[in-house]
Symmetry: C2
Subunit: 333 residues, 2 copies
């Protein structure tokens, strides 16, 4: 559990894209971000107040979150100065970088001396149980994709936001680095030991109020041979009541697998639902979420209408057209 709120460290980001973790935090949990810290030459800007460490501390920030990718996988000396100073000022540090904070002896030494914490969200911080498959109270929704990186996290975030707006009870459950940094908590599923994958998701989505929704961040795809085991563990560990099908229609092949094609939405529906029913016989497919960013608005609208007609399910691009239809479908269950 990472202490919030955050000061978002943008370092010397060469462009806005390099700061996409920080952008995600600001978009989805603005209340977690008291300000931004930019070094000389930083080309990213979240539109938040620029703060010194002292100003952020006074504004209540508890953790400096590295919201930017670093160059070449090395934590530079320029960054180090800021990070060490932040520890000295009483901040914890949190990072999703491939190279870990805990592998930097100077940061470890200063963190120990100051009693501050180093959070590397790529590494599980607890020992998860083996899944027991026992039915849990409360409702759970999982987005499953025709491919990796088709908008599953965004879909869950958007549904969670809309549910909160409507006064429904909901929690976004992060299963990846970005999601964990955005919300401050979660399971870095791709780094969990095989035997404990499903158990980690049971742990992440415990018993809850009968009318509470867990919006579980999806990972991988049942049809992506590199990561399908991770997706399978999410489906059985999450024991979802509702599945959302996620799709990106303009891909020419599966991400990173040039000889593999995406399945149809119908194939995804039938495959995922049959497997989900093993853990939850009442599971239903309730809607379709399409990432239409590479389509004109006209094409996107027509594409969504065709899916609705063909499949009899509400279909939307939650980023472009909102997640209301999906929340309607979930609320009706």
């Amino acid at each position: 559990m990472i202490e919030t709120p955050y000061l978002l460290f943008l370092g010397d980001a060469p462009d806005q894209l390099a700061a996409k973790v920080a952008v995600g935090i600001k978009d989805w949990r603005p209340e977690n971000a008291v300000g931004q810290y930019r070094m000389d030459g930083c080309k990213a800007d979240l539109g938040l107040a620029d703060m010194t460490l002292t100003e952020a501390k006074e504004a209540g920030a508890k953790t400096l979150v590295i919201g930017v990718a670093n160059r070449g996988g090395v934590i530079s000396q320029e960054w180090k100065k800021v990070l060490v100073m932040a520890l000295e000022e009483g901040f914890d540090l949190a990072s999703g970088l491939h190279n870990l904070l805990r592998d930097e002896p100077d940061l470890v030494a200063v963190a120990e001396a100051t009693g501050q914490k180093l959070h590397d969200v790529r590494v599980p911080e607890i020992e998860y149980p083996i899944a027991n498959g026992i039915k849990r109270k409360g409702k759970r929704c999982l987005a499953v994709g025709t491919d990796c990186s088709v908008g599953k996290m965004y879909t869950a975030m958007a549904i969670d936001a809309e549910m909160r707006k409507r006064g429904m009870k909901s929690t976004f459950r992060a299963t990846g680095q970005t999601g964990i940094l955005i919300t401050g908590d979660g399971v870095p599923l791709d780094a969990v030991i095989a035997d404990f994958m499903a158990g980690s998701i049971e742990w992440l989505t415990p018993d809850n109020d009968e009318d509470h929704w867990d919006l579980i961040e999806g990972q991988g795809s049942l049809f992506h041979v590199s990561y399908s085991g991770v997706t399978m563990a999410l489906i059985h560990g999450g024991q979802p009541d509702a599945l959302i099908l996620s799709h990106e229609p303009t891909r020419e092949h599966m991400r990173g697998l040039p000889t593999y094609q995406q399945p149809s939405l119908e194939t995804l529906r039938d495959t995922a639902l049959a497997l989900a029913k093993v853990a939850n016989p009442d599971c239903q497919v309730v809607g379709v979420s399409v990432n239409t960013q590479h389509m004109s608005e006209e094409d996107a609208v027509a594409y969504l209408a065709k899916i609705e007609a063909d499949m009899g399910l509400p279909a939307t691009d939650p980023f472009r057209f909102g997640s209301g239809k999906l929340v309607d479908a979930l609320a009706a269950m």
Copy 2:
């Protein structure tokens, strides 16, 4: 890679069952076992020559394999004396125990001083790649089960043995602790990090002769919610050409999951084949392997005949009736 042949350490095993790893080595790779080492009070006996460390060394043994479960998860002082002496005599040590050899400071110190190796087969020894899904040469067969522990390893071992007997090219590919100790090599799949599961199986079953069969040891079940992700990774990483369905008909519920029932063989067939075709569109289900140990011979014969009639697939209990039918089906592909 564990150096063979072995001296099998039976310690102070309270009964034959406690030595089941050693029994597996002796049954499946007798050429790997030069003898057995039994301590005072040992109640297990493999029928191999009892040897001192010196005698085993002279007979060519390279590794002392702990072929017995220890009591209470502690490596006792009595065992330690033998293990330390074995290192001093020039043996490597190999173990599938939960408590690791590498966590015993005295063993680590002696291993370093003598230049001998400690193999904990529960822990991956190499960094596996992410799966790339590229089609590999050679043939691969995987047993998939209606449940965990229904005889998938035994089935693969028996097919491998029969293929060798017939002069076919084949290799058993171990994916669990017992299999790794038996053959000296493999991937401890349940201990691999989620993102690398499928890649570890690609690594384990590389390009081979077109007429060579990899018999891949199955794990878990697509229908066992605790471990289904591991099974999924095997199906996509292994890209099998042939699936064998494995079943134990007398189970009252899924192993360790009292509220879950085994699927039918037909459901297993349809589910596993559809998923396997993602990685290998030519994959076929070629036979059924039934563990009939809790059935009379008459009942077993009738049960197998019924499966053959209902499903149109050869069905056998490879332990009781041999694996010939399954090898016939694979050879005909």
